[in-house]
């Protein structure tokens, strides 16, 4: 693997929130810090906490803390007290910091050598810490480790498996070329060395929706990353309003473009142009193909926004061809909807003539 030399001169610490390294002198630090950011909503928090407590190696080994971003609804503190029984500490921000501010506060407040930021609706599956400890103990220096993961819906039903990056546990080769192009890591599957955050800085609020992806790229540009092929974390995808609001405004892809731009500061100089171009194309194609699900569900309103965003990401031949395809597909679906509408108007007649042998 090519070593990527850090280029601190290219970005001042001012651009990425600094993480203080005062802890270095502290004698007895736990190995793990499981930091659970919360904000308005405790529906899944119990499940999340239990998933960690079920594999708790003890207070010397693991710090567990819920960091609430000054919620205005629900009472996470009461729940933490009830479930945690004194094992889980609770911190409430004096004022609302926003998602990314709260993540950085999680890092700042962590005591352990390795940080696991686990959102209030995600889950660590049994064995998560045990298997990732293999990575932590590995002889080769690494900055982060993640495992294969699952996407689940609001009810906890598993929906999809993440890509298998590598067959055996170990360091990912040429990982920067993968992660710089596409987001392959979800939060609950990732643990990061605190000293890595101290070196590269915290989450960047400019990247907003894509701040996590930008962070994983930044870490991968500076450190080797370990992969565990077992499925050990569950990420909850919401079909909720926030995601669709982002999608409707096109803000999600604006943030992705911003993240691509920010990464140019630290990606290896020899590859930066090619990687940015590839990333733009990959996200454009993603924008165009993922919108098909909406089209199938008869939601045509978002198609034009997506095409606009895709073309802003890249105008390669592939993207243009895919745009044309999407037009064709949408047209076909639209005609189908029209036809079925006229069908359902005269539905009674058709039903009585239903298909019989």
């Amino acid at each position: 693997m090519k070593r990527i030399t850090p280029k601190p001169e290219k970005y001042g610490k001012s651009e990425f929130p600094a993480i203080s390294a005062d802890l270095r002198e502290t004698p007895q630090r736990p190995l793990w810090s499981v930091m659970i950011p919360t904000y308005n909503g405790t529906k899944y928090l119990e499940q999340t906490l239990r998933s960690v407590l079920d594999q708790d190696p003890g207070v010397e080994q693991m710090q567990i803390e819920v960091i609430d971003d000054c919620s205005t609804e629900d009472d996470p503190e009461a729940l933490v007290k009830k479930i945690g029984q004194g094992r889980v500490s609770f911190f409430r921000q004096p004022q609302n910091l926003g998602l990314i501010g709260n993540w950085n506060s999680c890092i700042q407040r962590s005591q352990g050598y390795w940080i696991h930021i686990l959102h209030q609706d995600d889950i660590a599956l049994p064995g998560f810490y045990r298997y990732l400890q293999q990575a932590v103990n590995s002889k080769v220096a690494i900055g982060a480790a993640f495992c294969r993961h699952l996407h689940m819906d609001e009810h906890g039903h598993w929906q999809a498996l993440s890509r298998l990056e590598r067959r055996e546990p170990g360091i990912l080769e040429d990982w920067i070329e993968e992660i710089a192009v596409m987001q392959h890591i979800q939060f609950p599957s990732m643990v990061v060395k605190r000293s890595a955050y101290e070196k590269v800085g915290g989450f960047c609020s400019e990247a907003h929706y894509a701040a996590d992806w930008e962070m994983w790229k930044r870490i991968s540009a500076h450190y080797s990353v370990w992969y565990e092929p077992q499925v050990l974390a569950c990420y909850r995808s919401h079909s909720g309003s926030e995601t669709s609001r982002l999608a409707r405004s096109g803000q999600d892809f604006a943030d992705i473009r911003k993240a691509i731009e920010i990464s140019e500061l630290y990606l290896p100089t020899s590859k930066v142009r090619a990687l940015s171009k590839k990333a733009g194309e990959a996200w454009a194609l993603y924008a165009l193909t993922s919108v098909r699900w909406m089209v199938i569900k008869k939601d045509f309103s978002i198609v034009l926004t997506r095409i606009r965003e895709a073309i802003k990401c890249s105008i390669s031949a592939k993207v243009l061809l895919s745009t044309l395809n999407l037009f064709g597909f949408t047209g076909k679906e639209w005609i189908k909807t029209r036809l079925s509408k006229t069908d359902s108007d005269s539905g009674n007649f058709k039903k009585s003539n239903g298909i019989t042998p």
Binding site: H155, H157, W158, Q159, A160, L161, L164, R167, P229, V231, I355, T356, P357
Partner: protein, 343 residues
């Protein structure tokens, strides 16, 4: 009920003593001792004790490995072992599994599949709460030879419980893999064993349809079973010759008898169409792998299943592709290889 079926073995009732275990985990094996280790370990990890659960490995006279040694090593006397005096074929071996089972609930777990923690506990709940159900199955995961998960089966409904309209859903496509399902022994006693008219494929599906036609079926939403789907499936002779699709077509016609008269026509038609689409996707994989004759036999079988516009269109497209690819190979690749060889 008088049981006299030319193609199905009778599963006779066991003695009605009170010492019968609740569970029978019957593990058929044939040349898969390396996977058997994991299979047994996954069962033994949730073993409720020998009074509650019979665990037995039934080997179809393996020639390449020694399942008995694995059973002795892992089972430490807890796991029974029976070996067929000669190879009887896998359907007959399944029959032996059913016949040798003594428990009230039979779990047929192939020697390369696994269960996940909680399988027996969760499925037992289904039978406890609903004594009328004939079978219960759970959502399941597919895995490859290296134990990596590759796919999650479809979620049949969002809550665990008795399935609605199950017969109509199972009658049109295979939705259950064997490690995920548990059947009451008296259901097998009443309906008989697996149908011998199928030789390589579809005998399991026919059984699940038969059960669905006679009993309610319970579903567990948690994925608690692992089904090994090896990528070597393309190398089997039955797939290369199209025998698998012939078998499945047979199974569809056999299962037709159980379907409600007014819906049977439509269900069979849909099932045949699904079967044809499956054959075409296999054909596409064969074409990609360069095995043109196997691809052609899959296309042939697809057309024998069904001639819906979609199937016709895909078949035509694929046939043209095949002709193109094979002529390219004949005209360009082979002469070049010859040239290289002669040099």
């Amino acid at each position: 009920m008088e049981f006299n079926h030319p193609y199905r073995s009778q599963i006779s009732a066991t003695s009605k003593d009170n010492l019968r275990p609740l569970w029978s985990v019957m593990i058929p094996t044939y040349n898969c001792a390396n996977y058997l280790r994991e299979t047994l370990a996954s069962v033994l990890a949730q073993d409720p004790g020998s009074e509650v659960m019979q665990i037995e490995v039934i080997d179809d006279h393996s020639t390449k490995d020694d399942p008995k040694a694995v059973v002795e090593e892992l089972g430490q006397g807890r796991v029974g072992f029976y070996q067929q005096p000669q190879n009887v074929g896998y359907i007959k071996n399944f029959e032996t599994c059913l016949q040798r089972s003594r428990g009230k609930l039979v779990h047929l777990l192939h020697g390369d599949d696994c269960v996940r923690d909680g399988f027996y506990r969760k499925l037992q709940r289904g039978f406890d709460e609903n004594p009328q159900v004939g079978a219960a199955f759970c959502r399941h995961l597919y895995m490859n030879e290296r134990n990596h998960w590759t796919w999650i089966s479809h979620l049949e409904q969002s809550e665990s419980g008795i399935l609605d309209n199950w017969l109509e859903r199972i009658a049109i496509e295979q939705r259950i893999q064997t490690p995920s399902i548990v059947v009451r022994r008296d259901v097998y006693e009443r309906l008989g064993g697996f149908d011998r008219r199928m030789t390589c494929w579809g005998e399991d599906w026919e059984m699940w349809v038969r059960i669905a036609a006679n009993y309610p079926v319970w579903y567990e939403v948690e994925p608690l079973a692992l089904y090994r789907n090896s990528s070597t499936s393309l190398t089997g002779t039955s797939t290369r010759t199209g025998r698998n699709i012939q078998d499945f077509r047979n199974a569809i016609y056999i299962a037709r008898e159980y379907l409600p008269e007014e819906k049977a026509y439509q269900l069979v038609k849909t099932a045949l169409n699904n079967c044809a689409l499956y054959a075409l996707s296999t054909a596409r994989q064969f074409a990609k792998a360069g095995n043109f004759s196997a691809a052609a036999s899959q296309i042939r079988e697809a057309l024998l299943c069904c001639s819906s516009p979609k199937v016709l269109q895909s078949s035509l497209k694929l046939t043209i592709k095949l002709l193109y690819l094979s002529s390219v190979e004949k005209l360009l690749v082979k002469p070049k290889q010859k040239q290289l060889a002669s040099k």
